[in-house]
Every structure is written in C-alpha cells, then in structure tokens.
C-alpha cells in the first residue's frame, strides 16, 4: 500500500538527531516537527547549529544519529519536493554567468542530468525572475547585482524548483529594506499556496511579524511551536543565555 501524505503528516519530521564536527556536538538530540503549510523561523545565537540543522536535513552534512523524514520519506526519495536557498555568501558571485542562468539551475533536477535546458525552461526561469521583480536583470552579470538583487535571484532559483517545502538560509542577511519586504511577501504567498517554508533567521525583532512558527535552537532544541506560545522571554533567555539585552525593551 502506498502511503499518501495526509494533512496530519508533518512536512519535516526529525527525531533524536545528533550532529558532530570532529568530536564536538553541533546539534544534540533534536526532536522537531514542522507542519505542512507553515512559515517557520529557526532562530538561535551564532554557533547554535541553525545552518547545520537544515544542511543535515538536506543530506549535505552527515548525522551521527537520528531519523529525518520529509513528508514521511527519506530526503533522497523526495528531492523534487524540496527547494533550497543557500546563504548568499556561500558562492562566488564573480562566476561568469547571468541571473537567468542561475535561476535555470533550479530546473536542473527536473530537466534531468546530461540533458540540455530547452526554450520552455528558459521561459519558466524568466517567469520566476518576474515573480521576484528581477525580470529586467535577466541578462545582467551576477557580480553587477546588489546584495539584495543577488538574494532575489537565489529566491527565484528556488521558486523554479517548484517545491512543496523550502529551506532558506538567512535570506534577509545584508539585503535592502525593499528586498526584505518583497521577500516576506513571497514567503507568505508560498505559505498561502500550501507550501511549507523553513527559514534560518537572525533578526529577533521581526519574528512575530514575519512567521507563524518558531524553533529556538542552541545545540539543543530549546522550544518549537506557534510564535505566540514559543517566542517568550523565558525561552529566548534559555536559547541566548545572558547575551540579549534588547529583550528588556
């Protein structure tokens, strides 16, 4: 019998996940459920393992122990349901290519290995650039884009993947205010279309405004759930220790 994804099946299911670099644990015994059609922020101090958590879910970092399921299946069997926006700083923007070509890379999984992209794929990529307001920059060399524009290109590439679940690593880092507003609107539109979006986020001030759910992480999972219940001074204190002064504001 083939198991069909139901409304109750979480988009992301993590149990007893432990990840270590050399001997040092980066993530310790994480249990996390992220329901489908939600917009979730992963927050925590530097070195809390936020990026590592999504990279482990995506199979980029090996886990020492634990179980991960995406819509009830291992990631390897569900790749096409998942889109990814890496940190903008993780690539060399001096690479000789233009915006459209980068967005096309989001289609490589669907095009299939060895096969060439077709005209239809170019049109899809252009439509995705349009969605992030970057259609006029399709032929622009990527090093000539501003940080915010580069981030939008990365977002367009993820949209091209046409996934059900998106992981984004700090999509708001170093972007201008206009881009931030545009990205938030796209994230909310994705959620409203039934997609699940998981975002590594740095700015605590905007969490309640941007997200439905939050997972507070500091090697251990401190707490996760709807923002109203989870994003409390008490939990933040546990995640950040004495390191945040702005909670008093």
């Amino acid at each position: 019998m083939i198991e069909t994804p139901s409304a109750t099946m979480p988009a992301v299911f993590v149990r007893d996940l432990t990840v270590a670099y050399e001997e040092k644990p980066v993530l310790w015994d994480i249990d996390l459920d992220i329901p489908a059609s939600s917009l979730t922020a992963i927050v925590g101090p530097n070195g809390a393992g936020k990026s590592t958590l999504i990279k482990t879910i995506l199979g980029l970092v090996p886990s020492a122990a634990g179980t991960i399921r995406i819509f009830g299946e291992p990631y390897g069997r569900n790749r096409k349901s998942v889109g990814y926006v890496p940190q903008r700083g993780s690539v060399d923007w001096d690479f000789p290519t233009d915006s459209l070509d980068v967005v096309m890379m989001g289609l490589y999984g669907q095009i299939g290995w060895i096969k060439r992209p077709k005209k239809k794929d170019r049109e899809t990529a252009l439509a995705c650039l349009e969605q992030v307001g970057m259609a006029d920059f399709a032929r622009r060399q990527i090093s000539q884009l501003s940080g915010g524009q580069q981030q939008r290109v990365f977002l367009a590439r993820a949209l091209a993947q046409d996934a059900r679940l998106y992981f984004m690593d700090e999509p708001f880092a170093g972007v201008d205010a206009t881009t931030e507003v545009a990205i938030v609107a796209i994230l909310k539109a994705l959620r409203d279309a039934g997609k699940t979006v998981v975002v590594v986020h740095h700015d605590l001030d905007t969490v309640p405004q941007y997200f439905d759910r939050v997972a507070l992480l500091n090697v251990h999972l401190i707490s996760s759930g709807p923002v109203g219940e989870t994003f409390t001074p008490d939990n933040l204190q546990k995640a950040y220790g004495g390191k945040i002064a702005f909670l008093d504001r």
Binding site: R79, Y84, V91, F95, M105, W113, I114
Partner: protein
C-alpha cells in the same frame, strides 16, 4: 608564406603545430574549471606528480612509446590527485599544504628516478629529461594522434556534462541538494585535468604545465561574463600561445618549448588584464578618470 608552407608540409613543424594546438584547446577548456574552482595550483601539483609515473613506466617496460609514458604519467597524476582529495577531506591539513606535500614528494621521487635511469648507461634512455621543460621538436606523428584521441575524449565528457560541471563549480552545495554526486563529479573533473596534463607533458613539460591551465583561462575571464564564451576564448588563447611558442622553439635552436609557450601566455595575460573588455584595468581607469572630471566640472 614559407612558414605557412612549412607548417603544412614540413613533418616536424606539422606535428609541432598540431600537437600544441590540441594541447592548447584541451588545457584551455579544463583550465577554466580549475581556475573557477580555485584549483589553479592543483594543476601544478598534478603535473609535477606525473614525473615519477613517466620514469616508472619506462623502468618497468623499457619502452618509450608515447602510450606507455602517457599512461604512466596519468596513473601517477591520478594517484597524486586521490591523495590530495583524501587528505583534504579526511584530515585537518589545509588544501594548500596538501598540494605542496604531493607536489614536492612526487617530483622529488621523479627526479631521483630520472637520475637512476640516466646513470644506468642505457642507450635508450636519452630524452626522458625532456619531460622537465618539454621539447616539441621531438613530437612524432604517433604522439600527436594519441594526444588528439585523449583530448577529444576529455572534451566529449565536458560537452556531455557541461551543465553539471557548471553547477558544481558555481554552487556545489545546491548541486548536492539536487542529488548530484558532487564528490564523484569533482573527482571526474580533476581527473580530466590530469588528462590535459598528460597531453602537455612532451610539449611543455611537467614544471611549466600548470601555466597552460591557468593562464589562458585567467586571460579569457577578462573578455567575457559568460562561461561558455570564457571556455571558447581560453581554448583559442591556449592554442594560439601553444602554436607560437612551439614554432619559436623549433625554429630557434636550443629554446625549450615550455618556457617559449609560457612567455607567449604571459603576453596574452598581461594584454587581457589591461585591455580585456569585461574586466580590463585600462577601461576601469578611464571610467574613474571621467567620473572624477565630471564631479570637478559640476558647478558649485
């Protein structure tokens, strides 16, 4: 006209020009990926690592046929590559040091073997030392054919996997999430680099071979913002410099081919850095100068 006539009809010159053109194209293409993956020094380490392979292949078989020696070079280069990749992946030694270790150890071993061979008073051994700086004049037809076959095979793989190699080079992490076997693909790409090096051993030699990989690609980058154009220009620069350098070395008695080619490449690189239409420094200086003038002309 007589030079052109010689290029077509003179046996040596024809082999030299064909051989160096093949070498220039293949190393120009693969050099682009090496440069963009910041593996410029990898080519240097691997070409030095090929020397003991050449010597061992000769010592084991007593044969100096191009296929035997190229195979020996390829095996040693690939072993060097696997050692570097494994050291980088599994230990805390940084990539630069890993390259340094393999380069010096393999090359040192190669020089020792070369000395042993030369002391053996074997009449057949003459010419192996030409692998250090290359001697295009010694190219024979059979070598050129072998170079062309190996080169064509390497280029075929690049054409087939162009999209994958591009993604791997630009964003390996994203490639991994799409299910691309990034380690395997990276090893394949570096393996093709070894093939390019093997092609260049007779002509350029192990010591200067990395210039054939790094220089045309770096020059080509100055002229374009597109990867496919960069690869095309790089192949042209490589072939042109290879051809000119090799012909100079053959027609001027005693000039080793490797250094002659490197001088041509240096010229191409300098001109490209200055005048390249995409990133050339001269245009940037002119833009800056105009901007300053504009600001000064603005009425207060």
């Amino acid at each position: 006209m007589s030079l052109l006539n010689d290029l077509i009809h003179d046996y040596t010159l024809r082999n030299v020009s064909l051989g160096s053109a093949v070498l220039g194209i293949v190393s120009g293409v693969l050099g682009c990926f090496a440069v963009l993956r910041r593996q410029g020094l990898m080519g240097d380490a691997l070409s030095h690592a090929a020397l003991p392979g050449v010597c061992l292949a000769y010592m084991l078989t007593g044969s100096k046929t191009p296929v035997t020696l190229m195979l020996g070079a390829a095996v040693a280069g690939w072993i060097g590559m696997l050692i570097i990749l494994q050291v980088v992946r599994r230990t805390r030694i940084d990539p630069g040091s890993a390259l340094g270790i393999v380069l010096t150890v393999f090359f040192g071993f190669g020089v020792v073997l070369l000395t042993v061979i030369q002391k053996s008073n074997d009449a057949n051994q003459a010419g192996l030392d030409k692998f250090l700086f290359g001697q295009a004049a010694a190219l024979v037809h059979e070598q050129v054919v072998t170079m062309a076959i190996v080169g064509a095979a390497a280029l075929f793989v690049v054409v087939l996997l162009f999209k994958e190699f591009k993604l791997l080079t630009f964003d390996p992490e994203f490639a991994g999430t799409l299910g691309l076997r990034t380690h395997a693909l990276g090893t394949l790409l570096t393996g093709l680099l070894v093939a390019a090096i093997v092609i260049g051993l007779n002509t350029v030699g192990v010591i200067l071979m990395s210039a054939m990989l790094v220089a045309p690609a770096s020059a080509a980058r100055q002229w374009t913002h597109s990867l496919s154009h960069m690869i095309l220009y790089s192949a042209l620069f490589g072939a042109g410099s290879g051809l000119v350098g090799a012909v100079v070395s053959v027609t001027q008695e005693g000039v080793p081919t490797g250094p002659a080619i490197v001088i041509c490449l240096a010229l191409v690189v300098v001109l490209s850095l200055l005048f390249g239409s995409a990133q050339g420094l001269v245009w940037e200086w002119i833009r800056r100068f105009r901007r300053r003038n504009k600001i000064e002309e603005t009425p207060a």
